[in-house]
């Protein structure tokens, strides 16, 4: 059994003597007998060696040999080794929230740079220090909008990630917010229908770019109309796409939120991920979560602190802008290191590579009889309509060594033959061509 308590018998004896009791059990005397555990039936401990071997066995029951074209908002991007090296520095990963600035300038400065980079790629003014994930970030954005204009209706495009929408619906169940979902036209946002829903009771409008089906659009005009009647525009973005895609800032979104997993975080079966939030200047004081600000110390030296804490739960309690306390700081650190390594050129080139590779696969699949790829601009993910049920296709592609994509039937009942396929820069030309060949075989 591995133990991490360093006490020798003598230590325990001496400490008990100083405390003035004769056994450790006496220290638990406040817990009445009738409240003691009815059971505590757990296995005996094991050595580190045995433990690693058990988990190794478990890990091997997950397939890691599949060549993945699975996305759906979470992508198999390349992660430079330096990201792991920095984030595994003990000084970062075994620190707490930087409440004591003199002992936490490392974390504070890194988060400050993170805020700068997230605002920079989103083309907006400010970003917070992170939220849990893309879905909870979307809820927080909606709550912010409702706080801002005190309205109740929220219009959400059906092209927003269904996982995010489900989270939002869970969260609002007990508060006074009405969610109105606007259907897609095939796989495209129905801008006219969206516009027809906008009125003076509408708190916020939510769209995603690229949308869940991979379609890229420009929402600038829609946001402009929304703004004219006091509606807050929320854009859900995919950070890596912003190497080429028009930014939330360029579209004049008020709040941009997104899943930050693509910025140097492993897929890790769903987390830890990273909730991104960037806002236009005037929303900054309504923003939830930690925010790092620059100031000076007593000697006038540049220094960094958690700021605007009067918004937060530890000060405001039930009147706080959010209940969030722990966030995803280490994930934000990974993102800032990732973006620093990328730089302007790497960021753009990675996005271009993704787009180029996806286009190649799209072109190849189009050549297969019976496969239709709906019209529309895409980035690194696109929807193909197959001549068979997408779930069956995926099943058969597993046998060929591919995770072929996401059948939309997982989330949308009426689209059984639609398959959402993602291609990242990690997929080689060879893998793409092999995938197309395997698909042709499966579909023939």
């Amino acid at each position: 059994m591995a133990r991490f308590t360093p006490h020798t018998d003598q230590d325990v004896r001496e400490m008990l003597e100083d405390i003035g009791v004769d056994s450790v059990e006496k220290l638990f005397a406040d817990i009445p007998k009738n409240l003691r555990p009815r059971s505590f039936d757990l296995p005996a401990g094991r050595s580190e060696n045995e433990t690693v071997s058990e988990f190794h066995k478990m890990a091997r029951r997950n397939r890691t040999d599949l060549v993945s074209f699975l996305g759906g908002g979470y992508y198999d991007h390349f992660i430079p080794a330096a990201v792991d090296t920095v984030s595994s520095r003990s000084e970062f990963f075994t620190a707490y929230t930087p409440y004591q600035p003199e002992a936490s300038q490392g974390t504070l400065r890194a988060i400050f740079e993170y805020q700068t980079m997230i605002a920079g790629i989103a083309g907006l003014d400010y970003a917070n220090a992170s939220l849990y994930d893309g879905g909870t970030a979307l809820y927080e954005a909606i709550a912010m909008a409702v706080r801002t204009n005190n309205r109740k209706k929220v219009i959400i495009d059906a092209g927003v990630n269904p996982l995010f929408k489900r989270i939002v619906r869970t969260y609002v169940i007990n508060i006074d917010v009405d969610i109105v979902e606007v259907d897609l036209k095939d796989i495209h946002t129905d801008a006219e229908k969206m516009e027809s829903h906008l009125d003076e009771n509408t708190a916020a409008l939510v769209v995603q770019n690229p949308n869940f089906f991979g379609i890229v659009a420009d929402y600038e005009k829609l946001f402009e109309e929304a703004r004219a009647i006091g509606i807050v525009s929320i854009l859900v973005f995919y950070p890596l796409s912003l190497g080429v895609v028009k930014t939330p800032g360029e579209m004049k979104a008020d709040i941009a939120v997104g899943e930050g997993q693509s910025l140097g975080l492993p897929l890790s079966f769903g987390g830890p991920y990273l909730g991104l939030m960037a806002v236009e200047k005037k929303f900054v004081r309504k923003m939830p979560g930690r925010i790092v600000g620059e100031t000076v110390d007593r000697a006038g030296r540049k220094s960094f602190v958690l700021t605007l804490q009067a918004r937060e739960q530890h000060i405001r309690r039930e009147k706080a802008t959010s209940n969030i306390c722990s966030n995803q700081a280490l994930c934000a650190l990974r993102a800032v290191v990732y973006l620093s390594l990328m730089g302007k050129e790497g960021f753009r080139n990675t996005a271009l590579l993704c787009m180029e590779r996806a286009q190649r696969l799209k072109d190849e699949l189009k050549k297969i009889p019976g496969v239709r790829v709906p019209e529309g601009q895409t980035f690194n993910e696109f929807t193909a309509v197959l001549p068979v049920k997408a779930a069956d296709f995926v099943e058969r592609m597993f046998a060929a060594g591919f995770a072929a994509g996401l059948p939309t039937s997982v989330f949308y009942r009426d689209r059984e033959n639609h398959l959402i396929i993602a291609v990242t820069e990690k997929r080689s030309i060879q893998e793409i061509d092999d995938f197309a060949a395997a698909a042709r075989k499966v579909l023939s």
């Binding site: 059994m1 001496e14 330096a82 929230t97 920079g120 996982l163 492993p266 897929l267 039930e318 730089g343």
Partner: protein, 481 residues
């Protein structure tokens, strides 16, 4: 020290992304394309390494310093946790695989299933969700479970009772869930005032949120009465399990009568706090709330296969995109397997031993918030120092930093003036704790002989005390603003 942006040189890059074809940019209609600068720095990989490694050196952390931050359980994080969570069979798995081919991710599902069962046993509960990403997220989950329970019985309840010593997240979570908060003061013993509680309790109270042991570090003597009173009004008892590290194998929230408990895996089960996260706020519930748990859950078939279960029609719905912070769950599962039953009991015994040792050694020098045996943390007040020499809790904290110790939590709980909340954890040795006690005593003495020195600390850190008022007034939140 310069920002990474100030090290930027046009044309430099830290990665070679790969060869992009000449026509790539032409694949997208320019209308949909970015025209503005991405505002990212242009630096080499070595620039990045030097910059962030140097930044790391400006931090205090568990691996470099004693970190007795009350309520945060800053215990040692075994490194094997990191090694296992980074195994490609865990770190490399796409979560949607569970939706399209669960037979290919049996290991991940098994891990979630097993960890859930173990945490149910540790807390004495019936059902578990691993979805919440952090303690506060677990609290919100609990509040929504509470609301769904009452709604299913056709009851429309409006209030949640929270004692005033509670973490700020408790009232904030209750409010986020649509409830009005009733705050109840603590009595002289440090527990919620039971008479006042009885008085305020009524059928419109949906739930009661209690931290156990509470933030004053005491095990609530009135707990049995509170359970009984709450039950009478069909209020759900919520346990903020932030302090679970004190009672492993000594008491279980389920046996006591709680219906919901959240656990902070990043506290009790040794997953690193990462400078503010990620955490994991796993929630366990009693029988009567199992049907309301977030979906999907992981079920085990008779054939021994693990699969996603969306079956609960009463479910509150998902709280997170998938199964919570899976990488954090892996770390906690590793820790629990290594320690086993006896090891976990040992954790609480040594945590409580360490805290009481500090309590008795320092009580002569600082006023105890509650003078009685404590659990895993002890809370002092610096009011004696304030009265005598104008030295405040924050000054003591800064003087500790100067002496190489991360300070305790200060000014919390709010019910204690000038609070200093010390949680040593079980992984610290007697020598380390003796060193800390010595430093505290020295600071107490210095506060009398030379208070200015305490008030000017720290002097040996990368920066001295920053001007927080200025930070909030002249907002500068990005490098280029």
């Amino acid at each position: 020290m310069k920002h990474i942006f100030e090290k930027s040189v046009p044309g430099r890059t830290g990665v070679d992304a790969g060869a992009v074809g000449a026509g790539a940019a032409g694949l997208m209609d320019p209308r949909f394309m970015r025209k503005s600068d991405s505002r990212l720095p242009e630096v080499s990989e070595l620039d990045v390494m030097r910059h962030y490694i140097r930044l790391s050196q400006l931090n205090f952390s568990v691996d470099t310093h004693f970190y007795p931050l009350g309520s945060c359980t800053m215990k040692y994080n075994p490194k094997v946790n990191e090694a296992v969570s980074a195994m490609p069979g865990f770190a490399g798995v796409h979560p949607l695989m569970a939706y399209i081919g669960e037979e290919h991710v049996q290991g991940c599902l098994e891990l979630i299933y097993n960890l859930s069962s173990i945490l149910a046993e540790i807390t004495g509960m019936k059902g578990v969700t691993t979805q919440p990403y952090a303690g506060a997220h677990g609290e919100l989950t609990g509040i929504l479970l509470m609301a769904a329970y009452h709604k299913s019985k056709g009851n429309d309840k409006k209030y949640v009772i929270v004692p005033d010593e509670a973490h700020g997240t408790n009232p904030a979570s209750a409010a986020m869930g649509g409830y009005t908060v009733i705050s109840i003061p603590v009595d002289r013993d440090g527990g919620m005032d039971v008479d006042l509680f009885r008085e305020k309790m009524n059928d419109e109270v949906a739930g009661v949120m209690l931290t156990l042991p509470n933030t004053l570090g005491v095990f609530h003597r009135g707990i049995c009465d509170i359970v009984e009173i709450a039950r009478k009004h069909d209020a759900i008892l919520y346990n903020d399990g932030a302090n679970l590290n004190a009672i492993l194998g000594k008491a279980r929230p389920g046996d006591i009568g709680f219906d919901i408990v959240h656990m902070n895996l990043h506290k009790t089960f040794s997953t690193p706090h990462g400078g503010g996260g990620p955490g994991a706020g796993v929630v366990a519930v009693s029988d009567r709330l199992v049907d309301f748990l977030p979906v999907p859950t992981v079920a085990r078939t008779q054939q021994g296969l693990y699969r996603l279960d969306f079956g609960h029609e009463k479910s509150i719905g998902p709280m997170s995109s998938f199964f919570g912070n899976f990488g954090v769950l892996v770390r906690a599962a590793v820790y629990i397997m290594m320690l086993g039953r006896e090891g976990l009991i040992d954790v609480s015994e040594k945590a409580v031993l360490n805290a009481n040792y500090i309590r008795v050694k320092l009580k002569e020098y600082f006023d105890l918030a509650v003078d009685r045996t404590c659990m895993h943390e002890c809370v002092f007040s610096a009011k004696r120092q304030v009265q005598k020499s104008g030295v405040h809790a924050i000054d003591i904290a800064k003087a500790l930093i100067e002496r190489g110790f991360h300070p305790p939590t200060i000014y919390f709980p709010l019910v204690v003036d000038e609070a200093l909340m010390i949680e040593p954890t079980e992984t610290e040795s007697k020598e380390t704790i003796d060193g800390f006690i010595e430093a505290m005593i020295e600071i107490a003495k210095l506060s009398e002989t030379d208070p200015a020195r305490v008030k000017n600390a720290p002097n040996n850190t990368p920066v001295s005390r920053p001007d927080e008022t200025r930070a909030a007034r002249e907002l500068k939140l990005t490098c280029n603003s």
